[in-house]
């Protein structure tokens, strides 16, 4: 007896995450939230707003400024049967808890031959374009993609943010969940969300725009640069496809190769530094598995191999902008 899907009012990306956490806390009495300023304050950005009032300070824990302890306590609690959302106030700060994540949390299942699994989602805001400078702008996802045992997620829409967060919290493995702070309150992407429970499965890409002439592969904030570029190209009669991979580990390779089989040209866009970045990983897999479909060498459009600087012209020079994405597209089209 499927009831018709009731539709709520429009939600922004941040509301969607907040709802996902609240619904999972309600659904799973063994779930905890821990992070800096997440309880009394409701989180630096408000992602955990209202959770402590609703679920109590025992389950929504204000942690000291101790990122290694946040990661380690979360791992210990998960070892002992809890599901934990562990917030990094900015995803930049995750480096302070790096050892606990990559050597302890990530390896637990492997080391114990599956006796122990660690249902922890380490989430936090990442990404540049907001003047956050070196330590409030990073996208360091490549560190974790390079560390076996972690799944890595980065949604670009409210619907995906909510559905992926719920899937991540139910996955049973550690997940590093990159939220894009510039999208938290972006009104142009607000959307109505189903009121019934739903998830977006990990490891499934989403085609955000259909096209036949080239493929943009991207995630996070850069999805919007690619959509804008596709609009511009459309006016020139070029039909670009935009694939939002949504999950980096595991990667939906089939969706990527299927698109390239159709378009034969590919531009990979992300805002992390180029060297050893995830864009390079995508290009390498395409070279191995879809070479015969390519009519041009794949192009990467990424941040420069620099930190993210503060002053606006510096930041815009370092990060991939619409003009960079268009230039990358023209390179593969010209070849």
């Amino acid at each position: 007896m499927a009831a018709p899907a009731a539709i709520s009012a429009k939600r922004n990306y941040l509301n969607a995450l907040n709802e996902a956490l609240a619904e999972e806390m309600q659904r799973n009495p063994d779930m905890l939230c821990m992070g800096e300023d997440i309880g009394l304050l409701g989180g630096a950005f408000g992602v955990t707003d209202g959770l402590q009032a609703r679920f109590g300070a025992d389950r929504v824990i204000d942690m000291p400024i101790s990122e290694a302890a946040i990661a380690g306590v979360a791992t210990g609690a998960a070892l002992n049967g809890k599901t934990v959302m562990a917030e990094m106030q900015f995803i930049d700060f995750i480096s302070c808890g790096f050892d606990q994540i990559v050597n302890f949390m990530a390896t637990y299942c492997y080391r114990t031959a599956g006796e122990v699994n660690i249902p922890v989602v380490v989430r936090g805001p990442g990404g540049g374009y907001g003047g956050g400078a070196l330590y409030h702008s990073q996208m360091n996802e490549a560190w974790f993609c390079h560390s076996p045992g972690l799944k890595v997620v980065c949604p670009s829409t409210p619907y995906d943010a909510k559905g992926l967060m719920k899937a991540a919290l139910r996955d049973g493995n550690p997940v590093i969940f990159y939220e894009i702070k510039e999208l938290y309150r972006k009104t142009s992407i607000e959307e109505e969300l189903p009121t019934e429970d739903y998830i977006v499965p990990l490891g499934k890409a989403r085609v955000r725009r259909q096209g036949s002439d080239l493929t943009f592969i991207t995630y996070g904030n850069n999805v919007y640069h690619c959509l804008d570029a596709a609009n511009t190209l459309e006016q020139e009669g070029i039909h670009a496809e935009v694939i939002d991979i949504r999950t980096l580990v595991p990667l939906d390779e089939e969706a990527i190769y299927a698109s390239i089989a159709k378009t034969n040209r590919v531009v990979v866009v992300n805002e992390a530094p180029m060297t050893c970045g995830f864009a390079g990983e995508i290009v390498a897999r395409i070279a191995n598995n879809a070479f015969e479909h390519l009519d041009a060498p794949p192009v990467r459009v990424t941040r420069l191999d620099t930190p993210v600087p503060w002053a606006k012209p510096l930041e815009e020079f370092a990060l991939p902008m619409l003009t960079d994405v268009l230039e990358g597209a023209r390179r593969v089209l010209r070849y």
Partner: protein, 372 residues
């Protein structure tokens, strides 16, 4: 008995008895037997390595057995521990009081531990990580990494979950004095202290962190002084005396179980050999001979034997049997140990030697829980 949140050696309240005074004769003799077992395990592995039957590095706990035995002897079966590299015997010492041959006890069997040492598929971790990096969720043993104090935050997390589940279980973590210099040592204990979590951190101060002396790891002579900054008790035990270790750890454990929060228990001991067996030759050079001689002068088996004689639990004839103390691995013979100790280890080794190696393809399994 209340512990105050200052530092230094704590004594029990006026007129109160030390926890060890409540141990029966049978318990005391079992402590002694467990010291032999821990020592024999170490001696035997060194022999096996010299015979070429073992792969990997040995981190000897020779001369530190009283810390291991005394710390876990009084724990409840359901209490958790997190041993580090020099604590290999702890895997079978945990809950050993529930019966050496009891398969349901909350500790590992000698078969489990020997399987791990020999890298066999019957190891509790199917030999996927080496030496002391095993553990068991079912037996309440946290799996350590080579990053030492890194298990303290996890211990706090385990303790947090126990409390939320309404249990009064205690978690006892083990570290050397060297790892107290790590940032996570602070982060873990700080969090546990803020929330009064039942986490006891035993520091085995064996005076040497690999090739670095304790005074270059910690600015105060007593590592226990670090407790002051967290407003928690810092106790000091004579790490050569299994009864003193038992007393101090049990005081800290009962303090934790009562909801009064964490403690640090520093056990003063001395590392008999090198950091690992690869380091024995160099350790003979970087450590002053006099210091080594002094550090090994109070063998925990001898200290325990004297105490049992004083208590009248050994008669003179018994006291002259099994003189394993003050013997290095090359001098100690099977005859120096009680037969049941040798037999227990023999049975573990026999099992491990007969067990299979893990199939190669398992290397790709369990990166995620669904991969196998």
């Amino acid at each position: 008995m209340p512990l105050s949140a200052t530092t230094g050696q704590r004594t029990t309240g006026k007129g109160m008895r030390r926890p060890s005074e409540l141990l029966s004769k049978e318990d005391c003799l079992e402590l002694f037997r467990q010291l032999y077992l821990a020592r024999y395990f170490d001696v035997r592995l060194i022999k096996e390595k010299k015979r070429g039957r073992l792969r990997g590095t040995l981190y000897s706990s020779h001369n530190q057995e009283a810390v291991l035995v005394g710390s876990v002897f009084g724990l409840r079966p359901e209490d958790w521990v997190s041993p580090i590299h020099r604590d290999m015997p702890m895997f079978f010492l945990k809950d050993l009081r529930s019966g050496w041959q009891n398969p349901d006890r909350m500790g590992m069997s000698m078969q489990d531990v020997c399987s791990q040492i020999w890298g066999k598929v019957t190891s509790p971790g199917r030999a996927r990580d080496n030496w002391s990096h095993i553990g068991s969720k079912a037996k309440h043993i946290i799996h350590s990494t080579s990053m030492l104090a890194g298990t303290i935050p996890a211990a706090a997390g385990v303790a947090l979950a126990e409390r939320l589940n309404g249990h009064d279980t205690v978690v006892v973590t083990f570290n050397g004095e060297g790892s107290t210099a790590q940032g996570v040592f602070h982060e873990g204990i700080n969090f546990a202290a803020v929330h009064k979590l039942p986490v006891v951190t035993v520091v085995e101060n064996n005076q040497w962190a690999y090739g670095t002396p304790a005074e270059l790891e910690c600015p105060t002579p007593d590592v226990a002084d670090r407790a002051m900054g967290y407003g928690i008790p810092g106790l000091i035990a004579d790490g050569q005396d299994v009864f003193d270790v038992y007393d101090k750890v049990m005081q800290a454990v009962e303090h934790a179980r009562a909801g009064d929060g964490p403690s640090i228990v520093e056990c003063k001991t001395f590392r008999a050999y090198g950091h690992g067996d690869h380091d024995d030759d160099r350790a003979a050079r970087y450590r002053p001979q006099e210091e080594v001689k002094e550090g090994r002068s109070r063998d925990p088996i001898a200290v325990c034997r004297r105490r049992l004689l004083d208590l009248g639990y050994l008669d003179k004839g018994q006291a002259e049997m099994f003189l394993a103390e003050n013997k290095g691995a090359s001098q100690a013979k099977d005859d120096d140990f009680p037969e049941d100790v040798v037999a227990y280890m023999d049975q573990g080794i026999k099992f491990a030697l007969g067990a299979a190696l893990p199939p190669a393809e398992e290397a790709a399994w369990w990166v995620f829980k669904e991969n196998h």
